[in-house]
Symmetry: C3
Subunit: 141 residues, 3 copies
């Protein structure tokens, strides 16, 4: 459900960094099936990322889509942003990278995993997906 | 209008696969001008795609933006997802890949092709774009 | 705030082109802090971009997210699209590329730069961010 695309300088992260960072991101969504959380690392070559018209080699730009849940109010959005910053800090802020991210929220009804339309929040089907950590047939809506 | 970005393992598809899959995707939108349908194949290197914190080499993740049309109700959204699964199956499910996709719907008014703002659905201008399969001047809105 | 992702043929732009084009894009947003404007150039290999099922080598496809501002009405959206076309023309239309772009508008509240949530439009905090061209602590909302 959440899809994180991480645009980073080519040598910013090694394999163990990427795995550890994706685990931290997955942990943010501990009420969802773990397999909902997708993270794509995408290296950006030199002279291919610009901020304010200036080339940057030290910038990590993250674009996130949320699909399974929407954050219901301003307080929850504030709290969520703080949690994201905390999850990212060891691999980004504490390594001296600059960073920016933003989140879009898209329709639960326009989403499919392995040919299944994911169950609604709080249903028995979702509980089973969480427990089994894999998709399986769901009751029709 | 629809833009499909297909994140896939590096060796998942050859040229003829990519062409055939893009043709199947284009056929989904048979009420639109063919040239509205854009498909970008983007290889993801090993150790750069994670699901639930685990690296995956067998996963195709697709992100779709719809611009020219919105799906008007839950039944149409259900039907559309089934059609997408069917279009993708020969190159993804039947080859043993796991897959997930989601669709966002964005504003018709914030869209431009070759300097033209695409015509509204059902107009004579759109009929001409379909017939000619290329953009051309449209009446002001 | 605005993030522009430019999918282009591999040899379309050299370093000075990319810098100049990103400067033109940044200038579109002259009421915002310059550092809000991110541009990522992403080369697309041959046989990896299809329009209407046909492979294209001469196409520039741009995907834009607006975060800091929304365009309030149809007139402003029309005007904005014209400004974008003008900004892009010297590097795209005038070089014989085909092109298409679309813009999504996402939530100001789901956005973070360097650990700060960007200030609201028209605030003293935003004026300081513009003047200093860097993020700094803002008043709580």
């Amino acid at each position: 459900m959440p899809l994180w695309k991480i645009y980073h300088p080519e040598d910013a992260f090694d394999e163990s960094d990427k795995r550890a960072l994706s685990e931290r991101i997955t942990a943010l969504y501990n009420r969802l099936p773990r397999f909902y959380v997708g993270v794509i690392f995408q290296p950006v070559a030199d002279h291919s990322f610009y901020v304010g018209g200036e080339p940057r080699r030290d910038f990590v730009r993250i674009w996130i889509d949320h699909i399974a849940r929407t954050l219901p109010d301003a307080d929850m959005r504030t709290r969520w942003i703080a949690l994201c910053d905390e999850a990212l800090a060891p691999f980004i802020k504490e390594r001296g990278f600059s960073w920016e991210y933003h989140i879009d929220e898209t329709s639960h009804e326009l989403w499919s995993i392995e040919g299944f339309r994911p169950p609604l929040a709080g249903t028995a089907d979702e509980a089973r997906w969480i427990q089994e950590n894999r998709p399986s047939p769901v009751l029709p809506r």
